[in-house]
């Protein structure tokens, strides 16, 4: 990798890594797991930087990798939690709404990824579908079911569906 490409990668890393690791953290609700997922995504980005850097949205590429890894890891955690009955929910003092995070933790991993991308990263459904590597309608279904479950769990009322 040339010095120019290395600089471009480092600039991209500084601007995107914090957001990617936080997104992974919200999906996994595990800091170490989020760091591992984000590191792996950016290591793969480094290997393919010469090609990915020419894409229109290289940030979408690295998020797709990170979300795929996060969903995969979350499924493993969910499978393990069925035996350990122990869900790692952020309960730090900085967590303003622990009930919300507990309710999110009960969602299936794909629905979790969809609500994090839609509400935290504030991405439209089309980009949510692109990052999750699924169709828009599938992304809408994930969001609809997630909001419905969360509303039930939190005692909220679902007003309008996402669009």
């Amino acid at each position: 990798m040339g010095s120019g490409a290395a600089e471009g990668y480092e600039w991209f890393f500084r601007s995107e890594y914090p957001q990617v690791v936080r997104t992974a953290y919200l999906v996994l609700q595990d800091k170490e797991g989020a760091r591992d997922v984000a590191q792996e995504a950016f290591i793969q980005l480094l290997r393919h930087w010469a090609k990915v850097s020419r894409y229109d949205k290289p940030e979408a590429w690295v998020r797709r990798v990170a979300i795929r890894l996060a969903v995969k890891t979350a499924r493993k955690q969910r499978f393990q939690s069925t035996f350990s009955d122990d869900i790692d929910v952020p309960t730090t003092s900085a967590t303003r709404d622990p009930d919300l995070m507990k309710a999110v933790a009960t969602l299936p991993s794909a629905q979790r990824a969809a609500v994090v991308l839609f509400y935290f990263e504030d991405r439209p459904v089309s980009e949510v579908a692109e990052i999750m590597d699924c169709s828009e309608s599938t992304a809408k279904v994930h969001l609809h079911r997630a909001r419905k479950k969360l509303a039930t769990a939190l005692g909220e009322e679902v007003t309008v569906d996402v669009s």
Partner: protein, 290 residues
């Protein structure tokens, strides 16, 4: 607060609580990427080396399989022998022979071969003329005869050669008959006797147990003789018998015995025609009756 607003605010607040040092993470990611790259190179090199080693080790066998060469199977006593083994010779239980017999057979074969090639009187091993057997203190009257009638055997004491009957013929010429009225007639030949005094002798070998004799004078008439047998080769005749011209086939003798033949000058037993003043005695020895 609506669910959507609650989700947005809750996510942001939780994510902001996650302290991230991007510079440190960048270093970690670059180091991890370099380490992984080296590991890939190492794994590739190791895999290449392992593949090369496998090819070296398994290559010939693989080649054998591909080329259809039969792989040697472990010995299984339950599988009958097809008789095609190249090393079957090692499995044959070879008969044991007396080394002395083998040595004598070799000697005989060499002498016969020499006789056939040169047409001369055979010589004993060591270059000396073939010695006449006998007591040693008296002249035996020449060596064994020149009347070999068998084809020359092949070189070496092969098993085939040993398995065949070993016949040997020897001839001696006599130049006078013995006086039947002398004190020696029918007994031992005198010490100064010999072909010129009507006595010839032969020496059977250690494996020769049968004797056939044919005696004729210069005209081809049968000649009477007394055949003495010195089984111990001590110069004393232990047994004798009389013949007229020839034995009736092979007669059994002690192996290795000395044979002494007295040729009668007055050929009474064989008729008036015989004149044993000069003739030939042919002795044929054999190791078996076949």
């Amino acid at each position: 607060m609506s669910l959507d607003a609650r989700l947005r605010q809750g996510f942001i607040a939780t994510a902001d609580a996650f302290d991230i040092n991007a510079e440190l993470e960048l270093i970690n990611v670059q180091a991890a990427a370099r380490l992984r790259e080296r590991r890939h190179v190492f794994i590739a090199a190791f895999a290449g080396a392992a593949a090369a080693a496998l090819m070296l080790l398994a290559g010939p066998r693989v080649a054998d399989i591909i080329l259809g060469i039969e792989i040697q199977k472990p010995f299984d006593p339950a599988v009958p022998d097809n008789g095609n083994d190249e090393d079957v010779e090692e499995d044959v239980v070879k008969p044991e022979f007396d080394p002395e017999d083998v040595r004598r057979a070799n000697e005989l074969a060499e002498r016969r071969q020499q006789q056939v090639e040169t047409g001369r009187r055979p010589v004993a091993i060591g270059g000396a003329p073939a010695p006449a057997s006998g007591s040693g203190s008296r002249p035996a009257g020449g060596g064994e005869g020149t009347g070999a009638q068998q084809p020359a055997p092949g070189p070496g004491p092969t098993r085939h050669h040993i398995d065949q009957p070993r016949d040997r013929s020897a001839s001696q010429e006599y130049r006078a008959g013995i006086d039947t009225t002398s004190q020696y007639a029918g007994y031992d030949c005198p010490s100064d006797s010999g072909p010129d005094a009507g006595c010839v002798e032969f020496q059977a070998r250690s494996y020769e147990r049968y004797l056939s004799l044919n005696i004729s004078d210069a005209s081809g008439n049968a000649v009477a003789a007394v055949v003495g047998i010195d089984a111990n080769r001590n110069g004393k005749i232990e047994d004798n018998f009389e013949i007229c011209g020839s034995t009736d086939g092979f007669v059994e003798i002690p192996a290795g015995a000395r044979i002494e033949i007295q040729l009668f000058a007055d050929n009474d037993s064989c008729g008036p025609e015989g004149a044993p003043t000069r003739g030939t005695v042919t002795a044929t020895f054999s190791d078996r009756l076949e």
